[in-house]
Symmetry: C2
């Protein structure tokens, strides 16, 4: 019998948690945004649990919310990803380090350099989450009044990728001979000047940095629009996505793997990792209660605003302790969103307050149960080609992370679908991805 | 009697050394460019010796040299400064971390974020070496054909500084109350939106990061042109400069301190630290011989090209083992440079080969002698108001650094002009600089 397909797990982090109420949860570290000791302990636990990689969400602006909601959110500020991950590279040995970097509001020479440097500093553990930057507030921090148009952003992203990977290949892997005797530090035949002149970018090169340990840092892509998927198919080695449920995930998986094949690539060299909140309890009920309790920490003012936006109707007049009224009008701006909300309220039997707090907290895909029931679900997703693993989010820290590391991971290992130890040293090796050849020096 | 004026010492580094021949010196680490273990050992030694800060030179391109010279130079590639210094923040506790960042080829939102993040990660040890970027090759890596014009670069630099410091002040020092009970994470009255609209830059803000530990990271400036000095007077807290000798240093010192006073600032809050190569030997002769030996590792091809450029005349026909010919014509492009070279050859009694290798290696200010003679000279510069300390360069690593740390530093301590231990924890405290008030929340 051949080995069962293996899960890949990436931790999708905010220092306090992605859930907006988590900083108020008992035992949480509300100051973790700028307290590196806490983040260090998180990543060390993730490494002990053999996660593939650690990934920190990132934005180029304070999120655009009314200040009444913003003032309640711990996601307003945190470390910048390159500085943070470089620091963390020194307190870990094996776990991958994925940083978000924008192709819209940065320059390819800078991005190529920083990832190459992080890859050298970490002995081959860097990954680049290519984003075109969704948040329109970012534009205003970079000299613009308005966000660059969507298709334009993706056009630049595609070319940006070519430039960055071209710069990484500036030196052959064996360019640096450092021959003391003859006084030759590198072989000039093994230096390539890119001289890129495209529609969007003009970059001469060469990069002033040796080829990364991994050849290229691992390429991650997280956009889900049509051009986002296409970019993934052509360039990505890992896809972060956020399907609602198993069926949506299967459809997305088939679509992206199909496009990858059509682009002439091996679909096994692209791993699809849906984002999922994981809440572990002693019983399924216990886990559900933890989640409900967590949601209660989302302030009602922010919660109800989130519900109003999702429904496309003012929800402030609803009775917070009753189910959702039946007669919510359909508006043009929010058809699918409204329907999703109504279905969620029915499925989880939520009051208006609970529903609002769910939406204001974290309303994406979630696995809530015992180590056994959650492992069962993850295994099912893996077996049914809905995922190659997950981009795991923790409900609250440190306990929610400890529950996954100490209770779920051993159950996944017992089932033979997750490593008991790292087999290689680089992130590419953890993910089972080949090291790319240098395009100029075969 | 009051305490004598104290020296401030910053290490001005390239991983292998700034001297282009150093990688061939016996005992050197030619692979240090991408071998973090070596750089870690260097910075830990500098911290043990109580240096104020560690500074890594940086460029946004491969230096523009004919490939025949370039192939012999270890300065062709190295780590990117933010990633490197962030990593080093985790293997040190007290020493300052100074990074070069360009105001010409980067964005203030990115720069403000990265320095703020480094300052948080290092508990208040970051410094920003503001440069307008001298190397014209850089332009070609950022979409341009030609370098941005000098005065234009400085105009943008001045405004860039205002934007970055304004972004650092986005949140009051006490903005983050994190009150679990009321669910208020920060006080919105203590958030300032910059809304900068100037001639060169438009940046809305706020920064998505808490105010740096030091209020603002320490501002370093290294340009020496007229607008460079003026920028220093208005903004800098540390000036890196490269005067030729004591008299030039005194004149520069008086000029910059005078301008600082004229700009309405306290001249004591700007520290002038000339760059100096320090070579320590058992006798003065021994130190001089070490330096001569080091110079011999500069390949003659590169060396003679450097001499030709400095003289403004082709030097390839000169007898390498004779003194410089007397009849070198004066050309328009190199009057001062030619004269300086002729004087150097006479003063140090150098053959053509030695002179060429000096110029191809490191030809700036140097202190070469025993711990006592060098300490004597540094003390004289300090007493005569030529410097507030030095930006120290080591001839070769690790030995040249060990000689300074283990032999020169104790001698400076014995004379009472250098600290025996750090008194504070932040770089500002090491340098005796005040923590700036938040301009929006006094
Ligand atoms: C799991 C996941 C993580 C993401 N993380 C980030 C992030 O850190 N920063 C960011 O700007 N966008 C992030 N995104 C958003 C996408 O990168 C993308 O910018 C957005 O979806 C808009 O692209 P699209 O129009 O192609 O969907 C993330 C998306 C997903 C699914
Ligand atoms: C000690 C010292 C260190 C410097 N380090 C850098 C550096 O790392 N990167 C850089 O681009 N320029 C560096 N410079 C150059 C200056 O920052 C400046 O760009 C150059 O002198 C041109 O400015 P100017 O025309 O005002 O002199 C350094 C200068 C000195 C004196």
């Amino acid at each position: 019998m051949s080995e069962p397909k293996q899960l890949h797990l990436t931790a999708f982090m905010r220092p306090v948690s992605l859930h907006t109420g988590a900083w108020r949860y008992p035992g949480s570290y509300p100051d973790a945004n700028f307290n590196l000791k806490h983040i260090t302990s998180f990543i060390q636990k993730l490494e002990a649990a053999k996660f593939d990689a650690f990934f920190m969400a990132d934005h180029l602006a304070v999120l655009n919310m009314p200040v009444e909601a913003l003032k309640r959110s711990h996601t307003v500020t945190s470390f910048e990803p390159f500085t943070l991950l470089s620091a963390l590279s020194q307190v870990t040995d094996k776990i991958g380090l994925a940083a978000t970097a924008s192709t819209t509001y940065d320059e390819p020479y800078h991005i190529a350099r920083r990832f190459a440097s992080l890859d050298h500093l970490s002995d081959g553990r860097a990954a680049w989450n290519i984003v075109t930057t969704g948040n329109p507030e970012s534009a205003k921090n970079f000299g613009l009044d308005e966000h660059v148009e969507h298709s334009e952003r993706y056009k630049r992203a595609r070319e940006f990728y070519d430039v960055v990977t071209g710069l990484w290949d500036s030196f052959a892997d064996d360019a640096f001979i450092r021959d003391r005797e003859s006084g030759v530090y590198f072989d000039p035949e093994k230096l390539h000047v890119l001289n890129h002149k495209g529609d969007e970018l003009k970059v001469k090169g060469p990069l002033n940095i040796a080829r990364p340990v991994q050849g290229w840092p691992v390429i991650v892509q997280a956009g889900q629009s049509e051009p986002g998927r296409q970019l993934a198919a052509e360039t990505a080695e890992v896809v972060f996505c956020s399907p609602r449920d198993l069926d949506a995930a299967k459809a997305l998986y088939a679509d992206i793997k199909g496009r990858t094949k059509a682009a002439g690539r091996d679909p096994n060299h692209l791993k699809i990792l849906p984002a999922a909140l994981i809440v572990i309890g002693d019983t399924v009920e216990d886990a559900k209660n933890k989640r409900l309790k967590l949601d209660t920490f989302v302030h009602y003012d922010s919660a109800i605003a989130s519900l109003s936006i999702a429904l496309g109707s003012d929800a402030t007049g609803f009775d917070p302790d009753k189910p959702l009224p039946a007669d919510i009008p359909e508006t043009n701006s929010s058809k699918t969103s409204r329907l999703g909300v109504i279905q969620l309220a029915e499925k989880d039997k939520l009051t208006v307050r609970q529903l609002a707090q769910r939406l204001g907290g974290y309303s994406g895909l979630a696995f809530v149960g015992t180590p056994e029931t959650v492992a069962e679900e993850l295994e099912k997703w893996l077996a049914e080609d809905a995922a190659d693993g997950f981009t795991v989010t923790f409900p609250f820290l440190p306990q929610g992370l400890d529950d996954v590391a100490e209770r779920l991971i051993p159950e996944l290992q017992r089932r033979g679908i997750f490593r008991k130890d790292y087999e290689g040293t680089t992130l590419r090796e953890h993910l089972g991805l080949p090291r790319p050849k240098n395009q100029f020096f075969g």
